[in-house]
């Protein structure tokens, strides 16, 4: 009986608690991992923006600056210098203001399918600096202003996300270990809490022993730890059943009574 009560009540409650905690921690881990990756992407992009600063400073020094296909003169040299200083950068490209067309590119060419979304994001006035992770490539860029303060174009750099992957994976596995620790701690904590919280229900379950249901109102000793209210109701049911059975015996036709006997 004890095992059955444990399985039917405590284990069920406890398992539902564990599932709840596991789901909550799982969702939090999932969301926090995304957050962690976003922050690391942003921090990496923020550091690499120093390379764009170098390029922008070089472009600004050119008094003829107007970013068109014919006037990107020193971009290549500036981008190559920046790539020497920041070897993790795979390449740079330059946008003008007229649509998602690459005016100049240095290094590894970006995937063509990424050009449009990168242009949309970098030219959006909502972002002073943009950072996008598209299919394992981090694109980060900034609008370039001409001397009058108008947007003249944008410089975008790109690098494979796995260049900062090991740090992210380390941080994620440390986070995972801690979440497993939290889960284990909660399991240990919730076992006694669940038991004490549901003790009364355990008594109710004890009273629901199939042996307590009988066909007569015969006196039965009240079992240890059983809910007396429930037992009283079951006893009332047993009594009612006994009376009904007796009544049936009385009203059965004689031939049926003989057969019944």
């Amino acid at each position: 009986m004890g095992w059955q009560i444990f399985r039917g009540l405590y284990l069920r409650v406890f398992l539902s608690m564990m599932i709840l905690v596991a789901v909550v921690l799982g969702m939090l881990f999932f969301l926090n991992t995304i957050k962690l990756k976003a922050l690391m992407t942003e921090a990496t992009a923020s550091r690499l923006h120093l390379a764009i600063d170098m390029i922008e400073a070089g472009l600004r020094k050119d008094p003829r600056l107007r970013i068109t296909p014919h006037s990107v003169g020193n971009f290549d040299a500036l981008a190559e210098a920046a790539m020497e200083r920041f070897p993790e950068i795979e390449g740079f490209f330059l946008f003008g203001t007229r649509g998602p067309r690459v005016l100049a590119e240095v290094g590894h060419p970006p995937g063509r399918m990424h050009i449009r979304p990168v242009f949309m994001r970098v030219m959006s006035p909502k972002f002073a600096r943009s950072a996008q992770d598209l299919h394992g490539t981090l694109f980060s860029g900034r609008r370039i202003l001409d001397p009058s303060g108008k947007v003249a174009g944008a410089v975008v750099l790109h690098l494979p996300v796995n260049s900062f992957g090991p740090e992210f994976r380390d941080a994620r596995s440390r986070l995972l270990r801690r979440y497993v620790l939290i889960f284990c701690a909660l399991v240990v904590l919730l076992i006694p809490i669940t038991y004490f919280q549901f003790r009364r229900l355990g008594r109710t379950y004890r009273a629901l022993s199939p042996g307590n249901i009988t066909a007569s109102s015969g006196k039965r000793g009240i079992g240890r730890g059983q809910d007396t209210d429930i037992l009283a109701e079951i006893a009332a049911g047993n009594a009612a059943y006994g009376e009904a059975a007796a009544e049936l015996t009385d009203i059965l036709p004689p031939d049926a009574r003989a057969k019944d006997a």
């Binding site: 539902s16 905690v21 909550v24 926090n32 957050k35 922050l39 120093l50 919280q197 109710t204 019944d260």
Partner: protein
């Protein structure tokens, strides 16, 4: 004894909820602490790397100038450049050049950070606790100044020192903390909706079945009771009870079969005995529950609300010059189109449910909903977004209607108000969580991937619907109102001046503010203030956060005062006046206050508005409550359609502050006019 089932249910529900909340709270505290410590330690080296790169770049620049400059260069010339660089980089507090020999000699480089070695469980626990402790005490260890040497002819002539801005890290931690709080709140609500409620049901249900059987048995009801599962104590207990009852039933049956020649009175007595003890009655095997529809509805609505905090900004990003309207109009158009499609489809809802059934209708609704989300993922212009959102609106209308009608069908008529309260509660919880989580996700993964998340979640809602919704609902009670009666109700209600004024002066303005101000103005304005997407979501969430607890209090206050209409009018005027506070283009904190104030005002409109409409309709003979509610809801949607279009059009002409203020003045005036009209009309009229 009579109230025992209720007591057991209350006991189990309270304990289970209490223990669940405790478990979630503990998980939340531990998780938030360890996440913050881990993210902080992951960010530290990246911030230091940026400081190192900055000082390196300046050092290289100085070295180049020292070797190439024609005349003697002093380090003081570089100080303004260093100051400007530090001012441009939020992570760097200061960047200065140490050039005096004694300063160079005294400079000690920061210790190099090494990768953490693999550690065992006890050390892991100690490390986690010490990091949490350090975080709690605001420890900024490990953020020492970073230096780069400037060399000339092989000699160190200066050191560029970058001091890291510790406040930057704390700002990041603060932002992560608030994101974590919102995520926790959302996760808790999701867990409660998806797990605790159904699990409680599963644990309580067998007990309720057993207690019901015990009570009935004590009164002489020996039916074949409903089984409480196949295994376990309660199932065996029920099987024993049913076996005994079956013995009685079989004896009677055998007697009736064999006693065919017996006298009629004996057969009558046996039949009467069987009837009195309900021996041939068999309980139906499974009862339908509100929870069948609750879970799929919650998951779907959560998915739908993910886009709410950034939709206008999404349109702004994909706007093209050849789109249908000017950008200020276009940003509101997807919201208006969404509301318009729902408004158009709602009147056909009943017919659709009758024709296809709730479950099939729910599953059918998933197709346009998912198609709309996938299309949103693929859009290339503002026009595409309007089409995609209209498609999703078809799915939204169909799914919510099927769930609402499912809930109405499974709850007894006397509990229908409770059923609808559950429906509204699910929508509110989903709105709150979805808006906030959507904002956070948009910050972390971008706008478009959020629509893929929504599509996946909608598919999950479909799986829940497939598994949980029953295709066989209890037969519909004969409809009280026929089609003709519905048309008559519509005419009669719109001939009632009071009802019309409630709709025009209160219901529609409330929805204009909700969709025009909250869904359109707030995200656009906050984005204009450079507020992050996560914060926009959090600020918008405050509306639901205020309305959920205040609404019941407002309803009780309204009942106590006994004058719902006055409360509605005051709340309408107040909601308008709140918006006038935005005239001076306040910072984000001002918008937060306005959103909270709006939530408070709308909490006082929600239930009292329905009561006022009901009171107005009481005077009209033959109009049912259902038709009043249905017509009120349909009329409100007019406001939902107008809101974003109106605010979009106003933004073309006015600046942000003026738009909010003029909208507020308009709403406040409408409320005031209503009050004046009411005061001047004699009660007889």
């Amino acid at each position: 004894m009579h109230d025992r089932p209720k007591t057991s249910e209350t006991f189990v529900s309270r304990r289970l909820f209490g223990t669940s909340i405790l478990a979630i709270a503990l998980a939340a505290i531990f998780s938030a602490t360890f996440t913050l410590t881990e993210i902080t330690s992951a960010l530290r080296p990246l911030i230091l790397a940026k400081a190192q790169t900055t000082s390196d770049l300046l050092a290289i620049d100085i070295e180049t100038r020292l070797t190439t400059a024609a005349k003697k260069t002093t380090f003081a010339e570089f100080e303004p450049v260093a100051a400007q660089m530090a001012a441009d980089l939020p992570e760097i507090r200061s960047l200065h050049i140490l050039s005096r020999p004694e300063d160079i000699a005294a400079y000690k480089p920061a210790p190099e950070t090494t990768a953490a070695p693999a550690i065992g469980l006890p050390q892991e626990i100690r490390l986690a606790i010490s990091q949490a402790w350090a975080l709690y005490h605001g420890d900024t260890a490990g953020l020492d100044p970073i230096g780069a040497k400037v060399q000339e002819k092989g000699q160190v002539v200066a050191i560029v020192v970058a001091e890291v801005e510790t406040a930057f890290l704390w700002d990041e931690i603060e932002s992560i903390f608030f994101d974590t709080l919102v995520v926790l709140l959302a996760v808790t609500l999701i867990a409660l909706e998806l797990l605790v409620v159904p699990r409680t049901q599963r644990i309580v249900e067998p007990l309720l079945i057993a207690e019901d059987a015990i009570r009935r048995r004590a009164t002489g009801d020996f039916s074949q009771y409903r089984q409480a599962g196949r295994k376990g104590i309660v199932a065996r207990f029920m099987a024993s009870a049913n076996a005994l009852n079956a013995q009685l039933r079989d004896r009677v049956k055998a007697a009736l079969d064999t006693a065919s020649d017996a006298s009629k009175p004996a057969r009558d007595r046996l039949s009467e005995f069987a009837r009195a003890h309900r021996l041939f009655n068999v309980d139906s095997p499974k009862t339908l529950s509100v929870n069948d529809a609750r879970i799929p509805l919650f998951v779907f609505c959560f998915a739908e609300e993910l886009q709410k905090s950034f939709m206008p900004l999404f349109v702004a990003e994909y706007y093209r010059e050849r789109d249908w309207f000017d950008i200020d109009m276009m940003i509101g158009l997807p919201i208006s189109a969404f509301m318009f499609v729902i408004a158009v489809l709602t009147p056909f809802a009943g017919k659709l449910v009758d024709r296809y059934g709730n479950k099939r209708l729910f599953l059918m609704g998933l197709v346009p909903a998912i198609a709309g989300y996938v299309l949103c993922f693929l859009v290339r212009s503002g026009n595409d977004i309007v089409i995609a959102r209209s498609l999703t609106a078809v799915g939204y209308a169909v799914i919510t209607i099927s769930c609402q009608s499912y809930i109405a069908a499974v709850v007894p008529r006397e509990n229908r108000a409770r059923g609808m309260a559950i429906f509204v509660g699910v929508l509110m919880a989903a709105t709150m969580c979805g808006t906030a989580v959507g904002g956070i996700l948009a910050t972390w993964i971008g706008f478009k991937p959020v629509f893929l998340v929504a599509a996946i979640m909608t598919a999950i809602a479909g799986l829940f619907g497939l598994a949980l919704l029953s295709g066989k609902l209890p037969p519909e009670k004969p409809a009280i109102a026929t089609k003709g009666a519905a048309q008559n109700s519509f005419r009669a209600l719109f001939a009632n001046a009071r009802f019309v004024m409630i709709v025009l002066f209160c219901a529609i303005p409330a929805k204009i503010i909700l969709t025009g101000f909250l869904y359109l103005f707030v995200p656009v304005y906050l984005a204009n203030l450079d507020v992050s997407q996560s914060e926009i979501g959090r600020i918008m969430m405050v509306y639901s956060l205020v309305i959920i607890p205040i609404s019941p209090i407002a309803s009780r206050a309204s009942d106590r005062l006994g004058n719902s209409l006055t409360i509605v009018i005051i709340a309408t005027v107040a909601s308008g006046l709140i918006l006038t506070g935005l005239y001076d283009n306040p910072p984000a904190a001002g918008v937060l206050l306005a959103v909270a104030g709006l939530g408070l005002a709308h909490a006082f409109i929600k239930a009292p508005l329905i009561v006022s409409a009901m009171e107005a309709a009481e005077a009209i003979p033959g109009v049912t409550r259902t038709s009043v509610l249905s017509i009120l809801r349909t009329s409100e949607r007019v406001g939902s359609v107008i809101g974003p279009t109106l605010v979009g059009a106003m933004l073309v002409i006015f600046d942000y502050g003026e738009t909010a203020a003029y909208l507020g003045i308009g709403i406040a005036l409408i409320g005031t006019v209503f009050a004046v009209v009411l005061l001047t009309r004699s009660p007889a009229k």
